[in-house]
Symmetry: C2
Subunit: 492 residues, 2 copies
C-alpha cells in the first residue's frame, strides 16, 4: 500500500480517511459503522484519557460504572431524551443462540430466549444512572454526587466516518446531582471550561465556548454548553458538550431530596461528555499532506531516533549514542524510541514517523559520530537543524514547548482569520461558499429562521458565544431584531 | 440501614453480599444480572487496572479497541468457541425503537428496523479480533502482535452475584499472534505468571498456577493456564486464565503468514484475561466480620485521619496537625484523607472506615494535642498504638509494608493449611465436607471420572498444578493409574 496521501487541496475528505488508516490510527471493522482503534491510535486516546481523568479528579469527580443496557421502560421515562435517541439505538431482544435446524453448522436466535423486556444498548446513560441515583439520594447530605464514567456507547448512525461518527464510540460521561439550580449551572459551566482548557492547552486546539440553540440542544437538556473547534477545511466540529439538565431526569425518575430546611424537592442535574471524536478534531486541526502532526502532549513517542549506517560496526556506534540520548531524555520525562529495525531503510522510517506525526526525529549517521552532532527534524515545520550532542536534551526540551505552542498559535490564527462578521444574507452565503469558517451574524432567535438558513445553506448555528459581549442588531435573514451575533458554520 | 454485617460463621454468602453493598463497592441494577460499580469499588478496580496495565506494557503489549458487537457469521466461525458461548449471549436484532401505537407514551421495537444479520454482544473477542488480524498479518514481519483491550463483555448467566458472576462485567483481554507454537505457548505461560505475580505481590492473594483439564478449558483453547485462589470459606476461585489457542482461530478465520523461509502457515494464538471478578477474590480473601480489609497497594485511601473534638477551637488545632501529617505522608507517596465531616460523629466514622477497609486510621484528640501524639489503628489486626508525631510518617511507611506482607502471609497460611492430600474417596468426601479447601488427589485422567466426582461431590478439578513434580499413583475414585495429583475443590 502506498504511504503517500491524497492532498488536502485535492480531496480533504479522502485525505482524512487515508490518513486515519495509513497512520495506523483506526480502521473499519466487520460491524457496520463500528471501528477498530489500532494500538497507535489508542495510545493517543490513552493520553487524552489520562489528562482528562486527572482534570476530572482535580475538580472533585470520581469514576464509577453503570450497566451497558437500559431496559426499555427506563429508556422511555424521560420523553425528550427517549425521542432523541429512539431512532438510532441498538436493541437486544434475545439472550441465546441455538443450532439452526435449517442450516447445519450455523446458529440462529433461539425464539424461546426472548427477553421479557427489550434492552437498549446505552446511547447515553442518563436514564440508567438517574434510576440508580434514586436509591442514593435521600437528603442534602447525599449531595452533590459528582460521578464520571468511561464507557462505550452505541448510536446507530446511518452515515459513519472513522472517529467522527461511528455506531459505537468510546467516551466519558459525567453525571452530577445537586441541591440547587445555581450549583448545577455552575457545574455545567465548570466542566465546559475544563473541556476548553483541555482542548486548548493539551490538544492545542482553540475552541469557542458557547451555548447551543434549542434545536441543537441535547435531548432532555435545559441548556447545552459546548466547545466548537474549526477544522482546516473551514468546517466546525463540536468537540465537547456539557448539559444543564434542570430537574428533567429527577422528575422522570422521581428523585427527590430533603433540603437543610426540611423541604422536599427534585434534584438538579448535569451531564457532560467528550468522546473519541476528539481524535478526529486532533487530526483535522494539525495534520498536513505528509500525515499526522501531533502536539507533544499527545504524542505516544515524542522523539524517535533513526540510525544511519552502512556497517554493523557503525550501527553499534550509533546505538551507543542513541542509548545515551534516550537515558537523558527519559530522565527529563520525554518519551523516546530507537527505531533500529533492520527490516526498513532510513527513508522508509522517516516517511513512517512523519506519517505518524512524531514531533521530533533524530538522525545519527557516521558523520554525526565524527562531529559529535545529530540531525534534528521537526515534524510540524518540516525543518532540520544540526545539534551538538551536549546541547541536545536542553534543545529538545525547548522544542517540546515551542512545538506545542506553535501548533496552537497556527490553529488559532487560522481560526481567528476564519470568523467573518456578515450583515447581509448574500454576504453570508458568499462567505460560506468561498471561505467557510465561522460566520458571525445576527439571528432573530427563532427555530424557524435557524431551520430556513440551514435548509438554504447547510450551515447551522454552532453556538451563541459566551465570551463576547452581545450587541443588538437585525437578523441577517429576516431583518427582525436580534439580541446578538451567533456563530454559524457547516459542521461535522 | 444497619452497618453491622452478618458474620462469616453465621452465613458466609450473606456476609459477602452485605459487605459488597454496605462498603459501597457495588449494587445490583435495574438490568437483570448487571451491576453498578460504585465510586469506592471502582477506585479499587482502577488501582488493579493501573498496575496490570503497567505490567502488560512492561512485557511489550499495547492496548487497542475492537467492536462491542460480533456479527453472527463471525461468532459461529470457530465452532467450539461458538458452542461454548451461544447459550448465554445477548443478541441485538433491531436498530430502532418507535412510538407504540397500542400504548401511548411507550416505545416498541420498530419491526422495519430489523438487522440483516444479528449482532452478538461480545462474550469474549477472539472472533472479532481474529477477523481483524486477518487484515494485519501477511508475513513474519507482522508478528508477533501483542495487543490487549480493556472492555466490557456480556455473558447471560442465569445465577448472578455481585463481582463474582454478572451478566456484564469489565475485564481485559489480551490477544496475541505468533509465528510458532513455542512462542505462543511461552506467551500464554508468561501472562499466567504475570497474573500470579499480580495476585500475590499486589493483591496479597496466594494462587496456585496450573493447567485446566479438558472439560474446564476455555471453549476454543488447546490449553488453558490458570491461577486458582482459595477463599475463606474453603471454596476455590479462578482468578485469571491464559489460553494457548493453537491455530484454531487462525484456521477459522483463515489467517496465514509467510515465514522467513517463505512457507505459508497458520498463525499461532493466545488470549488471556482477568476481570472485575478479582474484586470478589479480594473481598473474600482478606475481609472480616467488621467489613473490608484492603492491602495497602489496593486501598484508594491508605490512611484516614479522624479528628476528635468538642469545640470549634479544638477542631482547628487538630486540623492544623492533620494538614501537616497529610503533607508529610503525600510527600512519601502515601494517600491520606482528612475526614472532617461535621455531619458524623467519630464513632460512626471509625465504623465506616473499618467497613471500607482503610488500612490505617489516625485519631487525633485534645489529649494527643497536649502530648504531641496520635492514635494509630490498624485495620487488619484491629490493634491500636500511640505514636509520637515526629515518628509518625516513618512508622506508617513501615506499617504499609508490614500490612501488605501480613495479609499475604495470613492468606498463604490459610491456603497452605487447606491443601489436603487424600488417597481414598471416603477421605475425599469427608475432607470436602468438614474442611473444604483444595484436595490433592490422584485422578485417572478421564473426563468420565472427573464428571462422576463432580456429580457426587460438587467438587471440580481446579487445576493440574504446574509448580509441583508429579508422581504416579492410582485414581482416588476408580483405582486406575494416575500420572500425578490434581487439585479438586468446590468453586465459585
Amino acid at each position: 500500500m502506498s504511504k503517500k496521501l491524497t492532498s488536502r487541496a485535492e480531496d480533504y475528505s479522502k485525505w482524512y480517511n487515508e490518513l486515519v488508516v495509513k497512520a495506523d490510527l483506526a480502521e473499519n471493522s466487520a460491524v457496520r459503522g463500528c471501528m477498530v482503534i489500532k494500538p497507535y491510535g489508542y495510545a493517543i486516546w490513552e493520553k487524552m484519557q489520562a489528562e482528562l481523568d486527572r482534570m476530572f479528579k482535580e475538580t472533585g469527580h470520581k469514576n464509577a460504572y453503570f450497566p451497558l443496557f437500559v431496559p426499555k421502560s427506563l429508556f422511555e421515562a424521560e420523553e425528550k431524551n427517549a425521542e432523541g435517541f429512539a431512532k438510532e439505538c441498538a436493541v437486544v431482544t434475545h439472550y441465546r443462540l441455538q443450532n439452526d435446524p435449517d442450516n447445519q453448522g450455523k446458529l440462529r436466535v433461539d425464539p424461546e430466549a426472548k427477553l421479557e423486556e427489550e434492552l437498549v444498548v446505552r446511547p447515553t446513560s442518563e436514564a440508567i444512572i438517574w434510576n440508580t441515583y434514586k436509591g442514593w439520594i435521600q437528603s442534602y447530605r447525599d449531595l452533590p454526587i459528582l460521578v464520571n464514567q468511561w464507557a462505550n456507547v452505541v448510536r446507530w448512525e446511518m452515515r459513519t466516518r472513522l472517529f467522527l461518527r461511528t455506531a459505537e464510540f468510546l467516551w466519558q460521561e459525567g453525571h452530577t446531582a445537586h441541591e440547587t439550580r445555581e450549583e448545577a449551572v455552575k457545574e455545567a459551566e465548570l466542566m465546559n471550561n475544563v473541556y476548553a482548557n483541555f482542548a486548548e492547552n493539551f490538544m492545542a486546539i482553540p475552541v469557542v465556548k458557547g451555548l447551543k440553540t434549542e434545536s441543537e440542544r441535547f435531548a432532555g437538556a435545559v441548556e447545552t454548553y459546548c466547545i466548537e473547534a474549526l477544522m482546516q477545511d473551514g468546517k466546525a466540529l463540536q468537540a465537547g458538550t456539557s448539559h444543564f439538565l434542570g430537574q428533567n431526569f429527577a422528575k422522570a425518575f422521581d428523585v427527590k431530596f430533603t433540603s437543610k430546611e426540611g423541604k422536599l424537592d427534585y434534584v438538579w442535574a448535569t451531564s457532560w461528555g467528550v468522546s473519541t471524536r476528539l481524535m478526529g478534531a486532533l487530526i483535522m486541526t494539525h495534520s498536513d499532506d505528509n500525515g499526522l502532526v501531533l502536539p507533544p502532549n499527545l504524542a505516544p513517542n515524542q522523539v524517535v531516533i533513526v540510525p544511519i549506517y552502512k556497517s554493523e560496526a557503525q550501527l553499534e556506534d550509533v546505538s551507543k549514542i542513541a542509548h545515551l540520548i534516550m537515558a537523558d531524555l527519559k530522565a527529563k520525562g520525554i518519551s523516546v524510541t530507537f527505531d533500529d529495525r533492520t527490516t526498513h531503510r532510513p527513508g522508509a522510517k522517516f516517511a513512517q514517523h512523519e506519517l505518524q506525526g512524531v514531533p521530533l526525529r533524530i538522525a545519527i549517521g557516521p558523520k554525526d559520530l565524527e562531529n559529535g552532532t545529530v540531525e534534528l527534524a521537526r515534524r510540524d515545520t518540516l525543518t532540520k537543524e544540526v545539534v551538538p550532542l551536549d546541547s541536545l536534551t536542553p534543545r529538545i526540551e525547548v522544542l517540546m514547548d515551542e512545538i506545542q505552542r506553535a501548533l496552537y498559535k497556527k490553529a488559532l490564527d487560522y481560526r481567528d482569520s476564519h470568523i467573518t462578521e456578515v450583515n447581509t444574507f448574500d454576504e453570508f452565503k458568499q462567505t460560506l461558499e468561498t471561505k467557510g469558517g465561522f460566520i458571525s451574524a445576527h439571528w432573530d432567535g427563532t427555530p424557524e429562521t435557524e431551520n430556513k438558513i440551514k435548509e438554504l445553506t447547510k450551515a447551522t448555528i454552532r453556538c451563541v458565544p459566551l465570551d463576547v459581549a452581545s450587541t443588538p442588531g437585525v437578523c441577517v435573514y429576516t431583518g427582525k431584531p436580534s439580541n446578538g451575533r451567533v456563530l454559524f458554520a457547516k459542521a461535522y
